[in-house]
């Protein structure tokens, strides 16, 4: 009888004072260079990826120091506050990217717009990951009913026209704040990450090291997070980086349609839609420069994402 109880308890005890587990997680290569050091070496050799990294760094720098670099206030209507402010100024020495209807400097607004876009990009990505990764992990690891339910949910969200779904979620609230927008984007956007994570877990769950961890009696949550996830993280990182770009574009699209950031916020998408009304009058700079800023930012994340995929993806290495 006592023996039986001991046996039942054994796995738990095993788990608390287990040294073997450390050997299982050790993933360093023989020569001492870790997977990530090697990936970084490959990444560094990729010119386009490094270019993307530099481009992304300039966007981040611009966002962080917008208040230092910007020559004018991005929001204040300078038409009324300063005598020499000009409305609809084409790009000139005083206004590098021109000025808008209210005499606001486009360049300053583009700089501050980087803050909005990056903020949404980063937080929406966090929401995306914190929903998509756990659900994908459970679906892939557990299989069965859990997998059926989660896969059903993923398919339902996929069948929705993406833009309309985000719009409808945002429309639920009267005055969309920035945090609401990134939550709405994340709530719709997690499905892609979920699919990637699920696929990884399905292919990893039957591998020997997982079986070993299971036979040591480790609880599922520990196997999922400590043993499988570190091995599944590369494609998730790639997906998230590439996703940053599309999130920034979705935010711009929302703002363009009037469902995202509200005036006078210097959001790139909003600036494009404000400038659109005057496009016929030849004030092209109002819409063109914010669009270039979006393209530059998205391009940088796409370059980095492609570079990461090439550096981390074992499938391409063969």
């Amino acid at each position: 009888m006592t023996d039986e109880i001991k046996n039942k308890k054994a796995p738990q005890e095993f788990y608390t004072k287990n040294e073997n587990e450390e050997n299982l997680t050790a993933s360093k290569a023989e020569d001492g260079r870790s997977l990530y050091a090697e990936a970084w070496a490959r990444f560094r050799r990729n010119k386009l990826a490094m270019l993307g990294l530099v481009m992304a760094a300039t966007v981040i720098l611009a966002a962080m120091s917008a208040n230092l670099i910007a020559p004018y206030d991005p929001i204040k209507y300078s038409v009324w506050s300063s005598r020499d402010a000009v409305r609809f100024s084409p790009p000139s020495k005083a206004y590098i990217m021109g000025s808008d209807l209210l005499g606001r400097d486009i360049f300053s607004r583009v700089l501050f717009g980087a803050r909005i876009s990056l903020q949404i990009g980063i937080f929406a990505t966090l929401v995306t990951l914190s929903i998509g990764v756990p659900l994908g992990a459970v679906a892939g690891y557990k299989g069965g009913l859990a997998d059926d339910l989660i896969s059903w949910l993923v398919n339902v969200i996929f069948a929705f026209p993406f833009m309309l779904f985000v719009l409808a979620v945002v429309a639920v609230f009267k005055n969309p704040s920035l945090s609401l927008i990134y939550i709405a984007i994340g709530v719709v956007n997690w499905v892609q990450v979920c699919r990637v994570t699920r696929g990884q877990f399905i292919s990893l769950r039957s591998r020997e090291f997982v079986e070993a961890a299971r036979s040591l009696g480790l609880p599922s949550s520990r196997i999922i997070f400590r043993h499988i996830l570190p091995n599944a993280v590369a494609p998730i990182i790639v997906q998230a980086t590439l996703g940053m770009g599309s999130i920034i574009m979705i935010e711009a699209g929302l703002a363009y349609l009037g469902f995202g950031a509200q005036p006078p916020t210097p959001s790139w998408g909003l600036m494009i839609s404000e400038g659109q009304k005057y496009l016929g009058q030849g004030t092209w700079w109002w819409s063109v420069f914010p669009g270039l800023a979006i393209m530059y930012t998205v391009l940088s994340f796409n370059f980095v994402g492609d570079g990461l995929r090439d550096a981390l993806d074992v499938r391409l290495k063969r």
């Binding site: 069948a159 393209m295 998205v298």
Partner: protein, 310 residues
């Protein structure tokens, strides 16, 4: 094969039910009193009350849901809060405009993307390859609505080559800019994917064999390689359908194109709930049908995928 199609078809039912239920819940929690939306500020309390009971809004939410599903099963999507138009009629009127736009965009994207991708792969590291891939990655990175505006600015407003917004008299000239705008993104994605798949295939042994037999490079690329590189490309065309419908929402808004994309945005601005539900459901049905079609087409493109051993 048939069993596979039937199974896929049956699986679309719970997915569609999920979409229908999700959009019903979303619209039920969106603030705004439909009676007020219909009457504006004029309505006196009694009229408002009567409208609510006419619309069934005084019923408990569960009853409203069963009523909605019941009507839906009879092909009834309700009546617009805005102008009392039947939602099905409104969508039917706008449907052909969206179909025309998205089909042409897809054809353009497929033609341009495949051609550019194949040539890029065949002439790897050439000037064509570099410039095509540069254009492609820019195309993936530029927001649809901004590209549309630039095209309008240059080709309609400055050069005057094509008419501006709207559908005009229905002439194909009005279709050019919206189709290009909507097609750029999928074209860029297809070009990039075709190139990488072709490069992978071109490295394989049977290609070397074909070359060794003295077959001309054109035939090797066009006949032997392309066929095998097509499979992932077809998959991506399938996933692009959803993006295309989302893109249509923006493109139709820029070009004042009278399709269901613009209809849905107007409905959202107006908080016209039955119209929003209707457009979303119709788009989801299109998406499911299109994906089913892509799925079936695998069997024809790749004989290995005949689903016999499932």
């Amino acid at each position: 094969m048939l069993a596979h199609i039937v199974r896929k078809l049956l699986y679309s039912i719970p997915v569609l039910w999920g979409v229908v239920t999700a959009i019903f819940i979303l619209m039920a929690v969106v603030p705004g009193d439909p009676a007020r939306i219909m009457m504006g500020q004029r309505g006196d309390p009694e009229t408002l009350e009567r409208i609510r009971s006419d619309l069934g809004l005084d019923l408990p939410i569960g009853r409203q849901y069963t009523k909605f599903i019941g009507e839906l099963l009879h092909g009834d999507l309700g009546v617009s809060y805005r102008n009392n138009e039947r939602v099905t009629t409104a969508i039917a009127e706008r449907f052909s405009a969206t179909l025309r736009l998205t089909l042409w965009a897809m054809i353009l994207a497929g033609a341009v993307g495949l051609t550019a991708g194949v040539i890029s792969a065949a002439t790897q590291y050439s000037i064509f390859d570099y410039s095509a891939m540069f254009i492609a990655i820019s195309g993936v990175s530029a927001p649809v609505f901004w590209v549309g505006l630039l095209l309008l600015l240059v080709f309609a407003y400055s050069l005057g080559w094509v008419p501006g917004v709207g559908e005009g008299d229905g002439s194909w000239r009005y279709l050019i800019l919206p189709v290009i705008t909507l097609g750029i993104r999928p074209a860029a994605l297809i070009a990039r994917l075709t190139r990488s798949c072709m490069l992978e295939v071109l490295n394989q042994d049977y290609i070397r064999t074909a070359r060794a037999k003295g077959i001309s490079e054109t035939v090797v690329v066009a006949k032997h390689a392309l066929k095998n590189a097509m499979i992932p490309v077809v998959t991506v065309i399938g996933t692009q359908i959803s993006e295309l419908l989302s893109g249509a929402v923006l493109t139709e808004t820029i070009f004042a194109w009278p399709g269901i994309g613009r209809l849905s945005v107007e409905a959202l601005v107006n908080r016209d709930f039955p119209m929003i539900r209707g457009t979303v459901i119709v788009m989801a049905v299109i998406f499911l049908i299109a994906n089913l079609a892509v799925d079936i087409s695998y069997g024809f493109i790749d004989p290995r995928v005949r689903y016999d051993n499932e």
